[in-house]
């Protein structure tokens, strides 16, 4: 059972308190955008996800903790969290992620 750093609680907590919530940074188009999207584009938004080998931006929910959804960069090969950050923060760049990697895990 992993420990996961919750960016709201600002502490590491047991994995069992959390739930995985899918890939991060897939914004839901607003009403106007939805109507402009073709079926193919809408399907892309609904169904197509990265199947990343390596650092993956994903959402977690501290369901049995502070109840907050947050984002995380997790390496899908090593299953280690590189960084967790609050909902609404931008997707980290590749160089940002490698900086975090050098600085050790949070």
């Amino acid at each position: 059972m992993m420990l996961i750093h919750c960016p709201y609680c600002d502490e590491k907590r047991p994995e069992i308190e959390f739930a995985y919530a899918g890939e991060a940074h897939i914004a839901r188009p607003d009403a106007a955008e939805q109507q402009e999207m073709s079926d193919a584009q809408w399907s892309e938004f609904l169904f197509i996800r990265d199947n990343k080998r390596g650092e993956h931006c994903e959402r977690w929910w501290h369901a049995n903790g502070c109840n907050m959804f947050f984002n995380a960069v997790r390496n899908t090969v090593t299953d280690k969290f590189v960084k967790t950050y609050k909902m609404g923060q931008k997707r980290p760049s590749a160089s940002q992620i490698s900086k975090w990697n050098e600085g050790g895990n949070v």
């Binding site: 059972m1 992993m2 420990l3 590491k12 047991p14 994995e15 739930a19 919530a21 914004a27 839901r28 188009p29 607003d30 009403a31 939805q34 109507q35 999207m37 079926d39 809408w42 399907s43 609904l46 959402r59 929910w61 369901a63 109840n67 907050m68 959804f69 090593t78 299953d79 909902m87 609404g88």
Partner: protein, 987 residues
């Protein structure tokens, strides 16, 4: 006392003799003995039969690495444990043990014919032989394999023992209590850290117990051990856990420990916990698991009496047992000389030391000669003799083709040492090959973890102590006197004059894998060690190759002509040693296996003899049989009374979410397909929720309690996911909305009253609410009180009858229910369960999400377009409803079915076809989703999802059943009862 005992040696209590039984015969031992040590003391080496060839076997080791001596221990009904290692089972008075995998007895075993015909059982035997015909598998092959090959029989009775499970946190977890582990604990304890020290053995101290010749800081190893343990016990911050195995090492220093409390005790009072699973989170893990001696691979190396040299040392020093009277030692490592000398010092005759190496340090030979021991350098053991026990070895020198026979009653072997990397590998620490010693060593840690002592390749007591001190945060260096641990040579092949077809040299004793099997696997094209492992089953037995992995690797590497690191090492996986299911379950058995949620009213239903059904993790009253009624009769009666007069139903399990805030209606507009802005305070509306993919996700009635407050209900099973769905959208897509969600499912008990007399029943007890139809119309909610208890009273109906749902604080649920039931006698009130609830709603054509929908049904498919707002710009799922696939013709649509024979109740899930005479496979149009006998209508009613169903109204479809019966049914609209809803308006 037995001639094999060496009184004065070992930790056994010579004042406490213990009698136990093995295969029905009584044996003597002492407290502190294991089954193996006590049997060896009685001169018994034969303790089991091997897996495939049923060859007679004795213990190879003295600890948890033991591959051969597997026994079954029985201690009363349900307390039979197979496949235990005799080398780790402590004896107690009256302990019943038995050997395994033999028939009719251990001495004579009918299955041993497998051995005679072993040429027909090569590597991959199972894969090659038991292939065809396919029909033979169930009836011939599998029973045969189960009978002839295998381990002890699995118990068939319920285990009456209790098991425990706990979490704990510590700063430092130390696995292994040898010199490295003890020194680490000592250092860490001085740093004021919380320390846990575990060891799988009953005594802490590891190799220190069997190192009488060693001194540490001027004390004998035994005295230093005793003093250190006393210091640790007194420290207050070190928890010592003997008889505890670290079985698995998981992410972030999460380590599972299985502690055995009672297996060593003669008397166990009922209820006592047998084993506890400790789930430890450690700041740092120190692995000091030591090393396991490696067997040598030669013809006849599996005969009882052939064992590891270190095992003989352990039997002598821990149990005071000499494993034989006349021993031969066969080695390729210096360490076996020390074992030989120690045994010689204990009055055991060492006939010879056979050393496979061509060069050996002169002082070892001198020491041996000083003790009168012959040393044969450059020779190997080429064969063994003896039935239940070895009686003779043949030794061989390949250059001059010298052969010689030596009598003996035990043969000790040593092929070097394999550091134990099991837990290190669980933690995904990397390993590196050390070509010097021919072993894998820890390389880079993946967790906050160090591997020290012999498991890090640092052999010798001083090296272990110093490494321990450093790992524990100390700086102490120890002074020791100890024999040089020495060096060895690794042989990937021992010379033999015999034809290989005539030899049997075992690598994996437990799975009966020989060197020939591994070479054959390589010849047959298996080049990765992982494939060789699976094909030969080397290392796949319950000992997980603790003594065999490295030998197998050497042989495979040589056969492949590659270096060992290129061939790789198989992956170690938890558990480190076999672990009971009991320990893994802990407290979570029986009632605690899974949560069963019960409503406040549940005890009343139980008292009434209700039959229950699980709905999610809730248990709900299914129906209330009276006077021996079956379900059919009970449900028919419940339906009838409800429609005629009054029914009472516990709806407390409905999910409830309070949606509160100035933007509450905006949020509701986004989460549901229908509009909410104009819903007045005090009004209710049925809401339909979609997933973003446009499919029906949940439904329920929502009441507006205040301008900024909605009381949302969900399906019973859907409550957690609906809450998550809402919370997810609110936090991540609509964070600008000022609205908050609170689960209130269990704040309220919900009592549903349905039937024409519902209003009459509650009228006398309700205060603060005008119940008249004008003031309180259908689909409305009011706040007031009932029996003086505050209530949110909903006028809603899931049955088509006049209905109320009384929400009261759950701590009053039972009392209010009882009061209503008492008062309702005047109306012949009947309690009904979920089955009747389903019938009543099906008669009205109301859907159950998850029964009539399956995650691929849109509102349109369900005939519910009326609930999808055309005006709202956005709601979750809106865009998907426009997808071409979702508006296409010919989708499966929800329709009603009336069987031609009204008495036939279709089976839910039954497939529906247009033409029952079509050859199989038929074109299936869909399936029955709901089907019931309707007492009110005197016929069966059903709902079904059928391809293009809306266009099939009035047509006849067929439902072919197993056995050849074909039912006929007509497609109708799925509203069977009171289509105009007039019954809601009863006064």
């Amino acid at each position: 006392m037995s001639e094999f005992r060496r009184p004065g040696r070992g930790l056994v209590d010579y004042d406490s003799p213990v009698k136990f039984s093995f295969d029905g015969k009584t044996y003597d031992g002492f407290e502190g003995d294991t089954v193996a040590s006590a049997l060896l003391a009685s001169g018994v080496h034969l303790m089991g039969r091997s897996f495939k060839y049923h060859r007679p076997r004795g213990p190879v080791g003295a600890g948890s690495e033991e591959p051969n001596a597997l026994i079954t221990v029985t201690r009363g009904k349900g307390r039979m444990t197979p496949n235990l290692r005799a080398t780790t089972m402590e004896i107690y008075a009256g302990k019943e043990t038995a050997s395994q995998n033999r028939y009719p007895g251990l001495g004579f075993d009918a299955g041993a014919f497998n051995n005679v015909f072993s040429a027909f059982f090569p590597a991959g035997f199972y894969n090659k032989t038991f292939m065809w015909p396919k029909s033979f598998w169930d009836k011939v092959y599998e029973p045969f394999i189960r009978k002839m090959a295998g381990l002890g029989p699995a118990p068939t009775e319920v285990d009456p023992d209790n098991y425990g499970s706990v979490y704990a946190t510590c700063d430092v977890l130390i696995v292994g209590s040898g010199p490295a582990g003890l020194a680490a604990a000592l250092a860490a304890s001085k740093k004021d850290q919380d320390v846990i020290l575990v060891d799988e053995n009953p005594q802490l101290g590891g190799s220190l117990i069997s190192s009488p010749e060693v001194t540490i800081d001027g004390l004998s190893a035994a005295d230093w051990r005793a003093k250190t343990l006393k210091t640790l016990e007194k420290s207050g911050n070190v928890r010592l856990m003997p008889r505890t195995t670290a079985i698995g090492y998981y992410h972030d220093n999460f380590v599972a420990l299985a502690e055995r409390h009672t297996d060593h005790l003669p008397m166990v009072e009922p209820g006592r916990i047998r084993e506890t699973l400790h789930r430890i989170r450690a700041g740092e893990v120190i692995l000091a698991q030591g090393a396991i001696e490696r067997p040598l691979v030669f013809d006849g190396n599996d005969r009882p009496g052939v064992m590891l040299a270190s095992a003989a040392q352990t039997y002598l020093n821990i149990y005071g047992v000499a494993v034989g009277k006349e021993l031969v030692v066969f080695t390729s490592h210096d360490s076996a000389y020390n074992a030989a000398f120690e045994l010689a010092g204990a009055n055991v005759r060492i006939a010879s030391i056979i050393d496979a190496r061509r060069e050996v340090h002169a002082h070892l030979i001198e020491e041996a000669e000083r003790r009168g021991i012959d040393v044969h350098i450059g020779m190997v053991v080429s064969g063994t003799k003896g039935k239940k026990r070895i009686s003779e070895v043949e030794i061989y020198e390949s250059v001059h083709n010298d052969r010689k026979r030596i009598k003996c009653d035990a043969l000790l072997m040593c092929g070097g040492w394999t550091p134990s990397l099991h837990l290190w590998s669980h933690s995904k620490g990397s390993i590196k090959w050390d070509s010097q010693t021919g072993v894998y060593l820890p390389d880079k840690a993946n967790e906050n973890c160090v591997c020290i002592g012999a498991s890090n390749g640092d052999f010798g007591v001083k090296a272990a102590l110093d490494a321990g001190s450093k790992a524990g945060g100390g700086r102490k260096t120890y002074k020791t006197e100890e024999p040089d641990f020495g060096v060895g040579e690794v042989f990937d092949h021992l010379p033999s004059y015999k034809k290989s077809s005539k030899t049997k040299a075992f690598v994996d004793f437990q799975n009966d894998v020989t060197d020939k099997d591994i070479k054959l696997a390589v010849r047959e094209g298996f080049h990765s060690i992982e494939h060789v492992k699976r094909y030969t089953t080397n290392g796949m037995a319950t000992d997980q190759g603790k003594t065999s992995n490295l030998n197998a690797l050497e042989i495979a590497s040589k056969a492949l002509g590659k270096d060992a690191p290129q061939v790789g090492l198989t992956t170690f996986r938890p558990p480190y040693t076999p672990t009971t299911f009991g320990a893994l379950c802990g407290y979570r058995t029986d009632d605690l296996f899974e949560v069963t949620r019960k409503t406040a009213i549940d005890p009343w239903a139980e008292g009434q003899g209700a039959v229950f059904e699980p709905v999610g993790v809730w248990r709900r009253a299914w129906y209330f049989p009276q006077d021996g009624e079956d379900m059919h009769a009970a449900v028919a009666r419940e339906c009838k009374v409800t429609r005629d007069s009054l029914g009472i139903f516990d709806a407390s399990t409905l999910g409830k979410i309070e949606v509160v805030g100035p933007d509450a209606s905006k949020f509701m507009n986004l989460m549901y397909t229908n509009p909410w802005s104009k819903l007045g305070v005090g009004a209710c509306r049925y809401g339909l929720m979609l997933g973003e993919n446009g499919y029906i996700y949940d439904d329920g009635v929502v009441g507006r309690i205040a301008e900024d407050r909605f009381h949302v209900t969900t399906t019973t099973g859907g409550a957690p996911r609906v809450y998550r769905h809402m919370e997810d959208y609110l936090q991540t897509e609509f964070p600008e909305l000022d609205v908050w969600l609170t689960s209130t499912t269990e704040q309220w008990s919900v009592i549903a009253l349905n039937g024409p007399n519902a209003r009459k029943l509650i009228a006398p007890f309700v205060e603060g609410i005008d119940l008249s139809p004008e003031a309180f119309p259908h689909m409305a909610v009011r706040e007031g009180s009932i029996f003086g208890i505050p209530t949110r009273l909903f006028r809603v109906s899931f049955s088509g009858e006049l209905g109320f749902e009384i929400n009261i604080p759950s701590h009053f649920g039972l009392a209010v229910w009882k009061a209503l039931f008492e008062a309702g006698q005047e109306y012949n009130i009947t309690p009904y369960g979920t089955e009747t609830m389903h019938v009543l709603r099906a008669e009205k054509g109301f859907i159950i999400v998850g029964q009539d929908t399956d995650g691929t049904v849109t509102p349109q498919d369900a005939g519910m377009n009326w609930i999808v707002s055309k005006k709202k710009k956005d709601f979750v799922g809106k865009r998907s409803l426009q997808r071409s696939d979702l508006v296409a013709e010919g989708r499966k649509q929800l329709i009603g079915l009336l069987t031609d024979d009204p008495k036939v109740v279709l089976e839910e899930g039954a497939q529906i076809v247009a033409d029952p005479n079509q050859p199989i496979p038929m074109d299936m149009l869909g399936h029955v989703t709901s089907s019931y006998w309707s007492e009110s209508l005197g016929k069966s009613v059903a709902m079904a999802l059928v391809k293009d169903g809306f266009n099939l109204m009035g047509q006849t479809l067929h439902i072919p059943m197993a056995g050849g019966v074909v039912h006929k049914a007509t497609v109708v609209k799925p509203v069977f009862y009171d289509p105009n809803g007039e019954r809601l308006n009863v006064l």
